[in-house]
């Protein structure tokens, strides 16, 4: 006959007790067989008994917070406990299982392939370096006056502090959840969160000029940058680094993104409302590119003027 095991669930590592001789008492008092130092558990809370047929009975002894088995509250009478069963003593969860129950698959680290940069210190360092260089290049291109190197350094420092702060925050949460800091992947994720918008911006601006339209950068920056990037990175971190199941990872990622995305969404609605109002200023594609690559070939001046007249018909009044 299979051995009974009592699994006491606690964050990180669960405790397992082999149940060999009955009755087994569970409670906070030190004369119990299994001692639970949980404040919601009574001094003598539960007694597990076995009859001649080998069937297990749960006998609730607590009249304080009581016991629930598989969702049902137990009275003062012993109740037959099927295997497996979920028990709730006060706030403490435990399971009655058989030692023959199949174990879950071993989690194999998925930090490989394209996710290598997320987990390996060397790659993460390079990613951070790339982010820093991108930030510096962006600041350099944006500055219209001659400046000393210190100027760029002082502009970079707040960004570095943000990266550090977020890395610590994500690492700290990982530590709470898994007892591991996971600094390297956290740093990678934060670096990516800083780097990707810069890349999207550059790409969007090039595409805008190429297509003579503001749509590519709007879609890339607002669509991907503002709305998709955060949940995707959170999902990646939760699923591949913290080994959460896909649906769990997705749920948590969406939950954590909800507030910033909601705020951004409200902001976007405001912008859309403002766009539909009267504006005294013209709206046209103002991008310029030193590469001067554009899909539409240049029109001769006469054709250009003719086309402008066609594209801008007079106001039709009803």
């Amino acid at each position: 006959m299979a051995k009974m095991i009592l699994e006491i669930q606690s964050r990180g590592l669960n405790q397992y007790h082999r149940l060999e001789s009955f009755p087994v008492t569970v409670g906070r008092a030190l004369d119990n067989d299994i001692i639970l130092s949980d404040a919601s558990v009574s001094a003598h809370h539960l007694r597990l008994e076995q009859d001649e047929a080998g069937q297990l009975f749960a006998h609730n002894l607590s009249d304080e917070n009581g016991t629930r088995m598989n969702g049902h509250k137990l009275g003062q009478q012993p109740v037959l406990a099927p295997i497996p069963s979920l028990l709730l003593l006060g706030n403490r969860k435990m399971r009655l299982v058989s030692s023959e129950m199949p174990v879950e698959m071993t989690h194999v680290s998925r930090c490989s392939g394209i996710f290598t940069p997320l987990c390996k210190p060397l790659w993460a360092g390079l990613l951070l370096l790339l982010t820093i260089v991108s930030l510096l290049v962006d600041a350099y291109l944006d500055t219209s006056l001659q400046k000393e190197p210190l100027f760029y350094l002082s502009g970079l420092l707040p960004n570095l502090l943000w990266i550090l702060l977020w890395t610590l925050l994500i690492g700290g949460i990982s530590r709470l959840v898994t007892h591991r800091w996971e600094f390297v992947p956290a740093l990678s994720v934060v670096s990516l969160f800083t780097l990707i918008p810069l890349i999207l911006q550059e790409l969007g601006s090039w595409l805008d000029y190429f297509l003579t339209s503001d749509r590519p950068s709007t879609w890339l920056l607002v669509g991907i940058g503002d709305f998709l990037l955060l949940p995707i990175l959170l999902y990646a971190y939760l699923h591949w680094v913290l080994s959460q199941k896909r649906t769990h990872a997705l749920g948590i990622a969406l939950l954590l993104s909800a507030l910033p995305l909601g705020l951004r969404g409200m902001n976007m609605l405001d912008e859309m409302a403002a766009d539909s109002e009267f504006s005294a200023d013209p709206y046209y594609n103002q991008t310029l590119s030193s590469l001067n690559m554009h899909a539409k070939p240049a029109l001769p001046l006469d054709e250009y003027l003719k086309k402008a007249a066609q594209e801008l018909p007079p106001l039709t009044t009803e």
């Binding site: 350099y140 291109l141 944006d142 500055t143 219209s144 006056l145 001659q146 400046k147 003579t212 009267f278 504006s279 005294a280 200023d281 013209p282 709206y283 046209y284 594609n285 103002q286 991008t287 310029l288 590119s289 030193s290 001067n292 554009h294 539409k296 070939p297 240049a298 029109l299 001769p300 001046l301 054709e303 250009y304 003027l305 086309k307 402008a308 007249a309 594209e311 801008l312 007079p314 106001l315 009044t317």
Partner: protein, 418 residues
């Protein structure tokens, strides 16, 4: 020595002052009965919202004033009414007969005879003494003395420059020569004794036309204004085309500069800074012409600007970031939602004098003046790694075709010189 100088000053000042005073006091008493305050009254509150001046002309019940004095009445049909106030305190209502928005004139009729009509005459020679009448700031009827400085050359409305201090409220009042004949109608001031008069001949033309119809009021003032604006816009474009165009050099381009008798150009370049990585040269040209239509609504402006940027200090990517930041264009006009549509724009690439430009034409139409548009054109030179040029052209209250003709002419005058 010092004492004598002050005395001399005092004598020099006192002599003409005394003389002028005696002449202007006789003019004032002679024409006092022909000058009125014209008021726009809100029908709901019964209070005046705008005041100006006016004078009896041609017939004893006809009063002339500025269009801008009565524009509130015209632009808000059914909300306001017009009335007059005499120097003796009499009031009565006025009927609008006709307007000339181009020259900022309006002709009104009273229900009963108001006084002796003033006579209209030609613009006198430069330097002649003139006397301006009106009711400045609602403080009481006044006479202001000044000098005729001739018809302005650079303004299409051909106003008279009057060196005398006109003040708000005097608009629409007459400016007389020594013989008590109307030379001009008070219209504007830019302070410090620089004031402007509408030459009275334009009023004479209006009155002659009204006389033919027996002083019948225009049925559709707004339509008439639209026609006047159309005619003026087309005439203006034709006038520009016929004028002598000078050219100016900006960077490697020779481009249209002053259009004689119409526009003037000014250099607006920033003074070089040792930290500058890009040199910019900035020339701005505009006419000094505007047609007042309503509060915050003026048309007839033409302005164009050229900005040349060049660098030998930085990489093209960095140069183009700055260049792109400067590539924007805003209209001069204050027109709002009630006046115009939103801008619609067309952007494409086109060569000008063999050099490629990214060129945008934006158009918005006037809601109340059919067929009239604002045009905003913005071009950026592309294809050069370390050189750029922006060209902006802003025309308000033109016809679209007229504006496009002007654009074509301007672009054809671009010459690349390298």
């Amino acid at each position: 020595m010092f004492l004598r100088l002050i005395l001399l000053f005092a004598i020099l000042l006192a002599a003409p002052f005394a003389l002028a005073e005696s002449e202007s006091s006789s003019i004032y008493s002679d024409v006092e009965g022909s000058v009125y305050q014209v008021r726009v009254i809100n029908q709901q509150t019964g209070k005046k919202t705008t005041i100006g001046s006016g004078f009896v002309v041609m017939q004893s019940d006809i009063i002339a004033t500025n269009y801008h004095v009565v524009s509130t009445f015209i632009n808000n049909p059914g909300e306001f009414e017009l009335d007059y106030l005499s120097t003796t305190g009499n009031t009565g209502s006025l009927e609008l007969l006709a307007v000339d928005v181009i020259h900022d004139l309006a002709v009104l009729r009273a229900e009963r005879p108001l006084g002796e009509p003033l006579k209209i005459t030609q613009v006198p020679p430069k330097g002649e003494r003139l006397y301006s009448l009106g009711n400045p700031m609602d403080k009481g009827f006044s006479i202001v003395e000044g000098t005729n400085n001739g018809v302005m050359k650079y303004s299409d409305d051909n106003n008279i420059l009057f060196s005398g201090s006109l003040n708000p409220g005097m608009s629409g009042g007459p400016t007389l020569n020594g013989g008590k004949e109307v030379v001009g109608v008070n219209v504007a001031t830019s302070g410090n004794g620089i004031s402007f008069l509408v030459p009275a001949q334009y009023l004479a033309i209006m009155l002659e036309r009204l006389k033919l119809t027996g002083f019948k009021a225009d049925e559709d003032i707004l339509l008439r204004i639209t026609e006047q604006l159309h005619g003026s816009a087309d005439k203006y474009v034709q006038h520009l085309q016929d004028s002598k165009w000078t050219s100016l050099k900006i960077g490697s381009f020779s481009v249209p500069g002053d259009i004689e008798g119409a526009t003037r150009c000014w250099d607006n370049s920033q003074k070089p800074d040792p930290d500058d990585l890009i040199r910019t040269y900035y020339t701005q040209c505009s006419n000094e012409n505007s047609i007042y239509l309503d509060e915050n609504l003026e048309v007839g402006n033409l302005s164009y600007e050229y900005i040349w940027l060049e660098t030998d200090k930085i990489i093209p990517a960095r140069f183009y970031r700055q260049y792109e930041n400067m590539n924007s264009s805003v209209p001069n006009s204050q027109a709002g939602k009630q006046d115009v549509t939103n801008f619609e724009c067309f952007t494409d690439f086109t060569p000008v004098s063999g050099q490629e430009f990214k060129m945008t034409v934006c158009r918005r139409d006037y809601l109340n003046y059919a067929g009239l548009s604002d045009l905003l054109i913005s071009g950026a030179l592309v294809g050069h790694k370390r050189e750029g040029m922006l060209f902006n052209l802003d025309i308000t209250g033109t016809t679209f075709d007229g504006g496009m003709q002007l654009l074509k002419r301007m672009l054809e005058d671009f010459k690349w010189q390298k």
